[in-house]
């Protein structure tokens, strides 16, 4: 496993790409899911 890891690291000399926009985008998706769910849950509780 460790040798494999090393090999993989060697084979990807580029540095990590900048994925800030991705982080924010997936977070927004996550928050949207939570808001939807809790919205319907409140409706469920109120009935």
């Amino acid at each position: 496993m460790t040798t494999e890891k090393k090999k993989q690291l060697e084979s990807s000399p580029e540095n990590e790409p900048n994925l800030k926009g991705t982080l924010i985008s997936v977070s927004v998706v996550g928050i949207f899911i939570l808001v939807t769910w809790f919205g319907v849950f409140m409706l469920f509780l109120s009935r």
């Binding site: 926009g21 985008s25 939807t36």
Partner: protein, 568 residues
Amino acid sequence: METATAPAKITNVFTNRGTKELSLPKNERRLVMSYMYVAFISLFIGGLMGLLQVLVRSGSFELPWGINYYTILTVHGVILGLVLTSFFIIGFQNALMGKTVGYSKKQLNWAWIGFAVMTIGMISAAITVLLGKANVLYTFYAPLQAHPVFYIGITLVVVGSWINAFVNFRQFYVWKKNHPDEKSPLLAFMVVINMLMWCIATIGVASAMLAQFIPWSLGYKNTINVLLSRTLFWYFGHPLVYFWLLPAYMAWYAIIPKIIGGKIFSDTLARFSFILFLFFSIPVGLHHQLTEPGLDSTWKFIQVILTFMVVIPSLMTAFSLFATFEITGRKKGYGGLFGWLKHLPWKDVRFLAPFIGMLAFIPGGAGGIVNASYQINTLVHNTIWVTGHFHLTAATTVILTFFGIAYWLIPHLTGRKLTKSVNRLGIIQTILWTVGMLIMSTSMHIQGLIGGPRRSDYSDYGGTAQAAEWGAYQMAQAVGGTILFIAIILMVYIFIKMVFFSPKGEEEFPIAQEEDHAEFTPKWTENWKLWISITIVLILFAYTVPVMDVIQNAPPGSAPFDWPIGNS
């Protein structure tokens, strides 16, 4: 396109990257096109039924000639939910297999046999539905009983799809044998996963048909175990929706990056998410039966938990897509937090249609999580909310992605070009679909939350106050549905144009490649024995006890109901 392979050394990674592309010979193109014809004819017929449904439900239109609302609803559900989807998918997947691993002559002959069996089955079932002899809706819930030919036809469709699946497995196996140290082409790997899932799932319908529905409808058996038949249906019914979705994911992971001028984000991530979909698509069908009496709530709960596992590969997919867009944009020099959005080819319908499909999956997926949440399900169960939900997931996410595929696949197959004017029509089509669906689906969601039922002819329910609240939403659905129908006409026009009239030429079959320095894909991704074993173990775990229970403590069997709807 293949990168040179490193000298043979025993490692636990595949050292080749990328996919070598084959070209599709004439006969393979013809096979795929045959599937496409069925798919687009289905789109037209099913869309027409959809239009009639929304008009009837608005209360201002009555079906002529005594046609039963549930006949057209059955046509709509069967022809769009079962026929259009499975024919488009198997056709598309056959194109992917031809392009990545190829067909032998014998394999291609068998693929044609599969197509013939599917088509014969489909036409027989369709005739019974159109004659009103099978008004049982696409879920064919017992004790509603259809004409035996309906059940036999559906069984043949399944058998035909199995023949096709085994051809795909064989193609894959032969390729692997000829390329022992290479990783399989990503798209072929994905097709095999989807067909494996399909084969395991359709055992449910096939056994319900052979052991229950066919003998019962032929009169050899007087009664049917309703609960067992529904459980077997949903054992198939949930993986069915993933059978629709995974081909869309194939395009998102491995085709869209090429269209936007980028690379595959991570080959390993894509494969692993497909493996997780295989695991968690089948042992979860009870989440459609949460209000079904006679099933132990413990097992419903366990399957709800398993259902939520599918959130993992879904969010992996979302992450991977955003990352593809962002990395590609940044490479092209677009900076800032969201500057990379600007590079996306918004004017290319091959991108725009699937992209809107992706967006629709955000509310679609969120709604699905609501549906599957055991207690909250009681709020939406059997309401038109559910219909709103799957018109987002199936009829937008999946269908718009399929349209996005059709814009290049059909011209590629017919040796024509995707012209600028067709591209423009396609963009109009996509916008119409988006607007129509936004109106129809949103009003369905709201009407469902205030109690409006699905699968319901127009009724004022004896003038109750609650039903009066639904009227405006049903009107809105008629408006949205009409826009959608116009979009369907436009799509059929585009299809005809791409098949017969566009100028001759070569249209690209876009298959994305990996980055030159992408990490190597580990060999464990192709440990098929392990993946199949885990899938089977999960199914046995989730289903053995409830199914034994349904058989041993069977409810009294039901005689057939063929009235008011059914076979009458």
